[in-house]
Amino acid sequence: MDYKNIQTICPYCGCGCALNLEVIDGEIVGVLPANDHPVSQGSLCIKGWNAHAFVGHEDRLKKPLIRKNGQLEEVSWNEALKLVAKNLGSIQKKHGADSIGVLTSAKCTNEENYLLQKFARAVIGTNNVDHCARL
């Protein structure tokens, strides 16, 4: 028996409203606004109030997928990562680093964006890094 609220930031638009995710026994059951936040001040829009709705959706990807015979099939992390590493490596060797492009994400955290662009620049060796800010 465990009930707590975790304050976090809304995943939708760029306002950066804070919201509380209501968690009972490791399951998100709802959203409460955050009263002491300087921007949202205890209010949310309809997207914020429903920010948790997609998290537990049945469509969520739960295992890595690899295309085999034209179909995406569930595989282990190990197999998926090995394949990605192998193919990225061989393409980089064969066609040069600039034949690889990397899209970072406006939906991921700063840390993840940093890490991915570091990966692109320091490991692959290309500045082909962009994200959907233009879109």
Binding site: I9, P11, Y12, C13, G14, C15, G16, C17, L21, G26, H37, V39, I46, K47, A53, F54, V55, D59, R60, L61, K62, K63, P64, L65, I66, L72, L81, K82, V84, L88, H95, A97, D98, I100, G101, L103, T104, A106, C108, T109, N110, E112, N113, Y114, L115, K118, F119, R121, A122, V123, I124, G125, N127, N128, V129, D130, H131, C132, R134, L135
Partner: protein, 561 residues
């Protein structure tokens, strides 16, 4: 944003253009409404009637793509009426004469011809804006997503500098960023030309700094590790990379072989997605890392399951440069993993060093060490509800609520004289309507998240096209609820909403719906500098979809007569 969100409340005038603020940034519109309640004047320039325009003091309906014209027109009025801030222009700016010459021909009457904004409205708006003590400009994608996007943005900056509305609270030019961390993704170097903190890749000193920090050039000159999978990177590239629009294009021509996409859905978000799909299918290898099987993931070779915002720690940077902590609420579902863990694992798999992070907090420490504007950030400081807006160069710095206080980042603010250019595609006889796209309150971007939220999808379950009654009559939408909208690039079938909220001759389609993706129609012609496609203007035609019941009736009627 040059200023911060709470500051809107104290503005005396807010000029909103190209932003459906109350739907796309609801909690920012709250502040603007509060400003209005305190007596501020609100001016909305938008081809559609939006909630903000209903609440505004003045609503100007411009023809999509005519932004440079009306902004130049406003500046023309301001200069001629003597409302320009001469002191500010003198002390803080340069190039005023160039601007003056450029806007001279944009008389209100000439602007009316181009943009359809009545001359007297334009004069009134210019006065409202220029006479206010503290006036904010708020814009969003309606300004940037044009082939003249950069010109539009520079025009907004011209307008703000001309009236001295810069570097003070409640003023400034405030682009509202559309995604929770699009600001952060830019700050973190998710751009082809800069490292984290907008440090140019072409600058040798910066390059050396990152080479050292990332262990690419060690003391004895060589790279530390390598698994043999890759050709070792012996130095960071100083070549500016490709933008997303170029990557897609070059994927089509075969120069780009592989894309690694983290948490993006270009096959919904790109302009002219039919073409984009063709290009991406041409790739040798496509990796997508996402939380759902998006339209892009469906054609990928490998899909890696990421964790959602509720399942990881980290930071997001809001539109007003406010870095905030994201806290993990639950364990990742299934075998999904936080995206930083995935990249860590992949980098290690490839034999790279420098990816031994055990928590986002450690990554933030590295970011702070390498990024001057993020220099003062640490999780320790961000806890306790601290609000820190970058630039925040050191651990004592209190953050920067508004930019350009005493000087611009380049020193003096530069006026740019800007010529009006027509959009890449205008309505003609074959495609007589102008399509503009945008967001609605109840959905978000490509709909990957919001369309899976039951309550949001219930509000607007399907795509629709907003059309003015006059056009509806011309098209013959009479009892027909479904229509086919087509452009030179594709066609979609969707429902209609006949409404006088839109300008005659213009139609609006929200782009959230995969089954009727507005971006199948949009034009991928892009701004030459920013490479932003022109989502907001393209020519379309609308035809009523055949009604099967009606056809049967007609057939039987014909056969009897």
């Amino acid at each position: 944003m040059t200023n911060s969100i709470p500051e809107f409340e104290d503005a005396d005038c807010v000029l909103i253009t190209g932003s459906n603020t109350s739907e796309a940034h609801p909690l920012i519109s709250t502040r603007i409404m509060r400003a209005k309640a305190k007596g501020a004047k609100i001016v909305v320039v938008d081809p559609r009637t939006t909630q903000m325009s209903l609440l505004a003091n003045l609503h100007l309906k411009q023809q999509p793509g005519s932004d440079v014209a009306w902004i130049n027109g406003m500046m023309n009025v301001i200069i001629n009426e003597g409302l320009a801030d001469d002191v500010f222009i003198e002390k803080r700016t340069e190039g005023f004469d160039e601007l003056k010459a450029a806007v001279a021909e944009f008389t209100p009457e000439y602007v009316e011809e181009i943009s359809g904004i009545p001359a007297y409205d334009l004069v009134a708006a210019a006065k409202m804006y220029a006479e206010a003590d503290a006036a904010s400009i708020v814009y969003s994608m309606g300004i940037t997503q044009h082939i003249t996007g950069v010109d539009n943005v520079l025009s907004c900056a011209n307008l703000a500098m001309l009236t001295g509305n810069m570097g003070r609270p409640s003023t400034g030019v405030n682009p509202l960023r559309g995604q929770n961390n699009v600001q952060g993704a830019c700050d973190m170097g998710g751009l082809p030309n800069v490292y984290p903190g907008y440090q140019k890749v072409s600058d040798p000193d910066i390059q050396a700094k990152f080479e050292k920090a990332w262990g690419i050039r060690t003391e004895n000159g060589g790279r530390k590790t390598g698994s043999g999978l890759l050709s070792p990177v012996t130095g960071l590239s100083d070549k500016v990379g490709l933008t997303v629009t170029e990557m897609v294009e070059l994927a089509g021509s075969g120069e780009v072989k592989t894309l690694y996409i983290m948490g993006e859905n270009p096959l919904m978000a790109d302009a002219d997605i039919n073409h984009a799909k063709k290009c991406l299918k041409n790739l040798d290898f496509l990796v997508v890392q996402d939380i759902f099987l998006t339209e892009t993931a469906e054609i990928a070779d490998v899909v890696l399951p990421g964790a959602s915002f509720a399942e990881k720690d980290g930071t997001f940077t809001a539109t007003d440069r406010r870095v905030q902590l994201v806290n993990q609420a639950i364990e990742p579902v299934g075998e999904s993993k936080a995206d930083w863990e995935i990249i860590n694992m992949l980098a290690k798999e490839m034999g790279a060093s420098g990816f031994d992070f055990s928590s986002p907090e450690e990554i933030m420490a590295e970011i702070a060490a390498l990024t001057p504007i993020y220099g003062g950030y640490s999780y320790e400081r961000l806890k306790n509800g601290n609000v820190l807006q970058w630039p925040c160069p050191d651990a004592e710095h209190p953050g920067t609520p508004y930019l350009h206080k005493d000087k611009f980042s380049r020193g003096l603010g530069k006026f740019h004289g800007i010529e009006y250019k027509a959009p890449a595609e205008s309505a003609d006889d074959d495609y007589p309507l102008t399509l503009t796209t945008g967001r609605i309150m109840f959905h978000f971007h490509t709909g990957t998240m919001s369309r899976r939220a039951e309550k949001l999808n219930k509000e607007v379950p399907e795509a629709y096209v907003e059309i003015h009654p006059e056009d509806a009559i011309k098209v013959g939408i009479n009892g027909h609820k479904r229509v086919t909208v087509s452009s030179r690039r594709g066609e979609i079938e969707l429902a209609t909403r006949v409404t006088d909220r839109i300008k005659p001759g213009v139609v609006f389609i929200p782009f959230h719906f995969a089954e009727a993706a507005a971006n199948a129609l949009t034009n991928s012609a892009f701004d030459p500098v920013a490479k932003i496609p022109e989502y907001k203007v393209c020519a379309v035609k609308i035809q009523t979809t055949a009604d099967p019941v009606l056809e049967v009736c007609n057939e039987s009627y014909k056969s009897k007569n």
